[in-house]
């Protein structure tokens, strides 16, 4: 929409660049040709972005104020009822608790383990390059495939989980079919898939640190731990911030691992906001209700992104 408007304004406004007066007619023609070519080159992409990224946000907002089942001819406007229902529903409260647990645990654990791995990698021990690649590899594998492999690992009868539990004299729980173990199982898988990415980003950050500062601190007799907590960590705060934001946004939208491993169950033990949005729309045809939940997700992620804008500009550094 915006792009079409821009185009009209553009055509009227084009002919006023001042520079070479002599060639102004030529220049004008060139500008206009350039603008036409710009439209030809850029508008297909911009139109797709408008239709499939911007329009959905607006339309989703509208749908959240309606009641619809995909089939009946028109969505019926019902005001804020969907939101009222969401915010008074104990199911939705559970969903939000699960979601927040998911995000906090996955992001927190990925960052801690990721920076630990990055520190290990930055020692440049032999074999580091290969291990870095191996640790990053799950990031390029489909979540559905990873979920399938871990489903087998978590099999209490024939999976690796049984081997590990029996090794310490315990019996493996029925991970994915036990309501109190299903969420931990998914969290482990999600962390396993994402931690390599975090490690690589941290590693790149560490390699960008000013070596003079580190050297000076070392000469001053700072031990490893102090060096890490007092110097490396504060210097890496922009990286940490970037990771917290991007990982949080990704964690909120986690889907394929849930879909293949538990389908939001058992009962609703692993129903996160992303699964809830899908379930309400595509399994129960509660379009308006799903849209309202979608708006909740949109607002939460927008707030987080805005935080990024403000915080990164003002502070973050050391």
């Amino acid at each position: 929409m915006a792009t079409v408007a821009e185009e009209h304004v553009g055509v009227q406004r084009t002919p006023h660049p001042s520079p070479p007066r002599r060639h102004s007619v030529l220049h004008q023609r060139r500008q206009r040709r350039g603008a036409a070519l710009f439209a030809l080159f850029a508008f297909p992409n911009l139109a797709l972005i408008a239709v499939f990224a911007y329009w959905p946000v607006l339309e989703n907002l509208y749908l959240s104020l309606t009641n619809w089942d995909f089939i009946s001819p028109e969505p019926i406007f019902i005001g804020l009822s969907n939101y009222a229902q969401l915010f008074t529903s104990s199911t939705f409260l559970d969903v939000m608790v699960t979601t927040v647990t998911w995000v906090v645990v996955v992001v927190g654990a990925s960052l801690v383990l990721g920076i630990a791995l990055a520190s290990l990698f930055s020692m440049k021990l032999p074999g580091t390059a290969a291990v870095t690649g191996i640790v990053f590899a799950p990031h390029v594998i489909a979540g559905a495939a990873i979920g399938a492999v871990w489903l087998f690992i978590f099999d209490p009868n024939y999976g690796l989980a049984r081997t590990l539990f029996e090794a310490v004299g315990l019996t493996s729980p029925s991970w994915t079919t036990d309501a109190s173990w299903a969420l931990p199982a998914l969290l482990i898988v999600s962390i396993w898939k994402g931690v390599g990415f975090v490690a690589i980003v941290y590693l790149a950050g560490m390699q960008g640190l000013p070596s003079e500062v580190l050297e000076a601190a070392r000469l001053d007799g700072a031990n490893r731990w102090r060096l890490f907590t007092r110097i490396v960590l504060p210097l890496l705060s922009p990286t940490t911030f970037f990771l917290v934001i991007t990982q949080t946004i990704a964690a909120f939208q986690a889907f394929d691992i849930i879909a293949i491993m538990t389908g939001g169950g058992p009962a609703s033990a692993t129903t996160t906001l992303s699964w809830f949005i899908y379930e309400q729309a595509f399994q129960r045809s509660n379009v308006g209700y799903s849209a309202a939940a979608g708006t909740v997700m949109f607002v939460i992620l927008m707030v987080i992104t805005m935080l990024q804008f403000r915080y990164v500009e003002r502070k973050v550094h050391y």
Binding site: A42, A53, I153, F255, F298, E313
Partner: protein, 308 residues
């Protein structure tokens, strides 16, 4: 989005970890030996980390070729006693894997090519062509990076439905083709190219298409490869959208096919499920093996924009 803006520039100096460590190691072999003795615990930790990530993949590969009697036994067998292709055959019987593979390949190739082409032209336009309000337009485009993909699913489903494209390749591909991240990355790269070359060409009156084809593109192969590889990985692994937009088994892509296999398999055989999984995993692992450097730079940048 300052964090985002710095990433692609930072990555351009190819500060990739692997490259750097690989280059340094052979040169100082003596220090390396010293390192070994000094940091045995570091090596141990490194090995442990590798194990955590290798073991699941090892289980995947071996189980895919194990017979049921090797899988359903206790204590477990680390290696298969016989290699069998039965699992693969059974997977093919239970689910139309031929169709899944075909769909995944079509969607990945067409989707990634279209995405790269659109991104190249858009980036060229933003970098070299005049347009009133161009910078505002660019910011508006970048804003799309902030829209979480999951929130767009419902409306995109309705849009594609209105276009009559549900359960078609076009329906699977179309919403993912518009690319703000790829455009951003390429535009930044194009603008970093030496302008003198282009100015000389403009005196010649070289047309824009020629300028794009014979100068900008050849000078941007690594950047384009990065965008292309990220697009390929995204398309191949894509899950929730193909799940929603297709409704017949024969239109499913591989990741969805895996879920179908699992449901169909009724939890009977891990071997069958693992052989199906292997088909999903293997192509991307190979791509990763051969293009690790581009993929790492690309994906670390792409994270900034939730993959759009």
């Amino acid at each position: 989005m300052p964090a985002t803006t710095t990433r692609p520039t930072a990555s351009r100096d190819e500060g990739t970890v692997q490259a750097r460590t690989a280059r340094q190691q052979p040169t100082n072999g003596a220090r390396r030996l010293g390192n070994l003795r000094h940091h045995w615990w570091g090596i141990l930790l490194l090995a442990a980390a590798a194990l955590v990530f290798v073991v699941p993949l090892f289980i995947l590969v071996t189980t895919a070729f194990k017979t049921n009697s090797d899988i359903y036994t206790w204590p477990p067998k680390v290696l298969p006693t016989d290699l069998t292709r039965d699992n693969l055959t059974t997977a093919w019987q239970l689910a139309p894997f031929g169709a899944f593979i075909k769909n995944s390949v079509i969607v990945t190739v067409v989707g990634a090519v279209a995405k790269v082409v659109l991104a190249v032209f858009t980036a060229y336009a933003f970098a070299f062509l005049p347009f009133p309000g161009k910078n505002v337009l660019f910011l508006v485009m970048l804003g799309a990076l902030m829209v979480p993909g999951h929130v767009t699913l419902l409306v995109n489903y309705i849009t594609i439905g209105n276009m009559g494209l549900i359960n078609t390749y076009a329906g699977i591909i179309l919403p993912g083709v518009g690319s703000a991240f790829g455009t951003f990355l390429l535009r930044q790269h194009f603008m970093s190219l030496p302008t003198e070359v282009f100015e000389a060409a403009e005196v010649d009156g070289a047309g824009h298409l020629r300028k794009l084809g014979s100068m900008v593109l050849p000078m941007s192969v690594p950047a384009i490869a990065t965008v292309a590889l990220v697009a390929v990985i995204d398309e191949w692994n894509s899950f929730v959208w193909p799940l929603i937009i297709t409704n017949s088994v024969n239109m499913r892509t591989l990741p969805i096919g895996l879920m179908y296999l699992k449901a169909n398999d009724g939890m009977v055989s891990w071997g069958v499920l693992m052989s199906g999984t292997l088909i999903v995993v293997l192509p991307m692992l190979l791509v990763f093996l051969f293009a690790q450097r581009y993929i790492v730079t690309g994906l670390t940048g792409a994270a900034a924009g939730s993959g759009r």
